[in-house]
């Protein structure tokens, strides 16, 4: 069964796939290097010699080809009424709603990769112990600032 994101959800910037790819590649590069080092240095004398060197890079390449695309396809967000709706996760899927008036403060953050691929993250801080921060990754910087301003307006009109 495939789980398609609901039609009214908005997709994030396509550039975010590259962010995911680079991040995964960096993580897998470390694993691959480690595996090859172990194989070449420690397992040279055993019958299993060569298995890790062959399989781990293969696994890494397949992962980089498949996983970011899947993660990206399941990312979505929208402004639903007076709430922020965020959906993410491939094997572990999470669907979060945060009422605007529950927001305490807001961050727009851009890391190095975000700058490289033209994306930004919106981080919403709530008072809840669970979900103290809700993050929407892969927005364009303008869109992130726009959503921030919308939420901030709600926060103001809530108390006034």
């Amino acid at each position: 069964m495939t789980l398609e994101i609901e039609p009214q959800l908005l997709a994030v910037e396509p550039g975010y796939r590259n962010v995911l790819r680079v991040r995964l590649a960096a993580a897998l590069l470390a694993v691959t290097t480690g595996a090859i080092a172990i194989d070449q240095l420690l397992l040279r004398a055993t019958t299993l010699h060569g298995v890790l060197t062959a399989l781990v890079p293969l696994f890494a390449i397949i992962s980089i080809a498949v996983v970011p695309q899947r993660i990206y396809r399941r990312l979505g967000y929208r402004l639903a009424g007076e709430m922020l709706h965020s959906v993410h996760g491939w094997t572990f899927h999470t669907d979060t709603l945060v009422p605007f008036v529950r927001v305490q403060h807001l961050d727009v953050t851009r890391g190095l990769l975000d700058k490289l691929f033209g994306t930004a993250s919106l981080v919403v801080h709530t008072a809840g112990t669970h979900n103290s921060t809700v993050t929407i990754n892969g927005l364009s910087p303008e869109r992130a600032a726009e959503i921030r301003d919308v939420i901030r307006e709600h926060v103001r009109s809530d108390v006034a």
């Binding site: 069964m1 789980l3 961050d107 112990t129 926060v155």
Partner: protein, 495 residues
């Protein structure tokens, strides 16, 4: 950038000497570096030591300078903006309406320089490591101006309730526990942890003395002796085990009673004008007032035996922290239902009807663990010829786990009322959570590859403060029911 910065003032920087105020802290962070330099110097590698010292110093100064250069804050009409970060940038926006508190603090050096550290407290729960918003050092006059601005902008009437202890003491207490009830509460606090600890100690000592009745060698030696003496020793062994169990139980009981009497002696709960005032303690007498407006949720707890006898306890999850690390305020350690109802009534909350139509969760909640348990039990049985005792223990543990999971599933239920959600969970540690819908900060529906196969999902509610995040959780309901429940809970936000 097409940001609308109309309402935001000009960019301001920290005082150039801000880092001096936090110098002690950053020097402490570098303690590892100095240890290495000291080691190099002590072993006579002077060139390396000097080189490292130069690198560390330069790196610190360049880092501090870049941080200062890239840190900007703006005070707007509605909010404070803080832009920070050398490579990865964060633009934080703190609306004035959400600022609970402004701290202005000055260390010794800061006072000499006339600068101050300003911290904004918003009530965000991201934890201590992430300051809600802090300006590490700005001129004192500016700090006070910012604080006054925030105070002026703060809406009236949402300040902290001032705890008043001047209540009329002749009014009857909401709940007062006499010594008998405190002792009874102590009996229910029977400490399994103490018993487990003592068993461990007893076993270790027994091993050292070579008298471990769980070892086969011990029994074989006993039987090989093959004389009437063995019967006597066997009998003694049984008596010894029995005596051991009884004394351990007594110690566990005594520990529970002692702990409870020390904590809850002369427990008294009063209603004051703005909150609930709790006084208790034998040696350390505590007097805590809990503002009613800050209460987020109520948790009625019980256990199989206590429930049978009609006792329960009541805890309130509040924005104010209780003494110690526990987040929830105990307002009734042991009480009858009418007493709990009276306390809830003071909050303006209704006691849950006994006959509410609970919605059960799906039996996959128990089946998933049962399947896992079956696999583990099979594995243990396969290994049993090699390690019979470990296998037996393992199988018993798995069985206990599976049975308790089924009991929990049997107890579990939730019901959505007009303005609140009730969640009933646990079999051994029973909890009934009363969660007003207005306390809900966020709501998650989560699925994973296992639950998706069964067509179920879990709903988790974010609630401010307390240890609650494991408890405001509804596991394993049908997927559609999960989404529907969340919609209904958040319906006041016009989805």
């Amino acid at each position: 950038m097409t940001r609308v910065d109309v309402a935001v003032g000009g960019a301001e920087r920290l005082h150039p000497m801000y880092f001096l105020a936090g110098l002690a802290g950053s020097l402490r962070q570098m303690v590892g570096g100095y240890a290495v330099i000291g080691y190099l110097a002590a072993t006579g590698r002077w060139r390396m030591a000097v080189l490292l010292l130069v690198i560390v110093t330069v790196a610190t100064f360049v880092g501090t300078f870049l941080h200062w250069r890239r840190f900007e804050y703006r005070v707007g009409a509605q909010e404070i903006r803080i832009d920070s970060g050398i490579l990865s940038r964060t633009h934080r926006s703190i609306p004035f309406d959400r600022i609970q508190d402004v701290n202005v603090s000055q260390g010794l050096l800061a006072r000499l320089l006339g600068i101050a550290r300003v911290e904004f407290e918003t009530g965000g729960s991201a934890g201590d490591k992430d300051d809600d918003g802090a300006l590490a050092g700005i001129p004192l006059a500016r700090a006070e101006a910012v604080r006054n601005l925030v105070r002026a902008r703060r809406p009236k009437g949402c300040g902290l309730a001032v705890p008043d202890t001047s209540d009329a003491s002749d009014a009857p207490a909401l709940l007062a526990m006499d010594l008998r009830r405190v002792l009874l509460a102590g009996v229910f606090n029977f400490s399994l942890a103490v018993i487990a600890g003592l068993l461990g100690v007893a076993k270790t000592i027994g091993d050292a003395a070579g008298l471990n009745f769980l070892k086969r060698r011990f029994w074989r030696q006993m039987l090989e002796a093959g004389s009437p003496v063995v019967d006597l020793i066997m009998a003694h062994q049984v008596v010894a085990i029995l005596a051991g169990v009884i004394s351990l139980t007594a110690i566990g009981l005594a520990a529970g009673i002692a702990r409870t009497v020390l904590r809850d002696f002369r427990f008294r709960l009063d209603r004051t004008t703005s909150g609930l005032r709790r006084r208790r303690g034998l040696l350390t007498v505590t007097d805590v007032t809990l503002p009613i407006l800050r209460v987020q949720a109520a948790i009625i707890g019980s256990g199989p035996v206590r429930a049978k006898l009609g006792w329960s306890d009541l805890k309130l999850q509040s924005l104010a922290k209780d003494e110690g690390t526990k987040g929830d305020h105990v307002v009734a350690p042991l009480a009858r239902d009418p007493e709990v109802a009276a306390i809830l009534n003071e909050l303006g909350w209704r006691f849950p009807e006994p006959s509410v139509p609970w919605t059960r969760s799906s039996s996959t909640y128990a089946w998933s663990v049962t399947a896992l348990g079956a696999v583990m039990a099979t594995a243990l049985l396969v290994c049993s010829p090699a390690v019979p005792w470990i296998s037996l223990g393992g199988v018993i543990a798995v069985a206990v786990l599976v049975v308790s999971r089924w009991l929990c599933w049997h107890r579990f239920g939730y019901v959505l009322e007009k303005d609140r959600l009730l969640i009933r969970s646990g079999w051994w540690q029973r909890r009934l959570i009363i969660l007003p819908l207005t306390s809900i900060q966020s709501a998650d529906v989560t699925e994973n590859f296992v639950s998706r196969y069964f067509g179920t999902a879990a709903v988790t509610f974010g609630v401010a403060s307390g240890r609650g995040y494991s408890s405001h959780h509804i596991p394993a309901v049908l997927r559609d029911a999960a989404f529907l429940l969340r919609m209904q809970v958040l319906r006041s936000y016009n989805i």
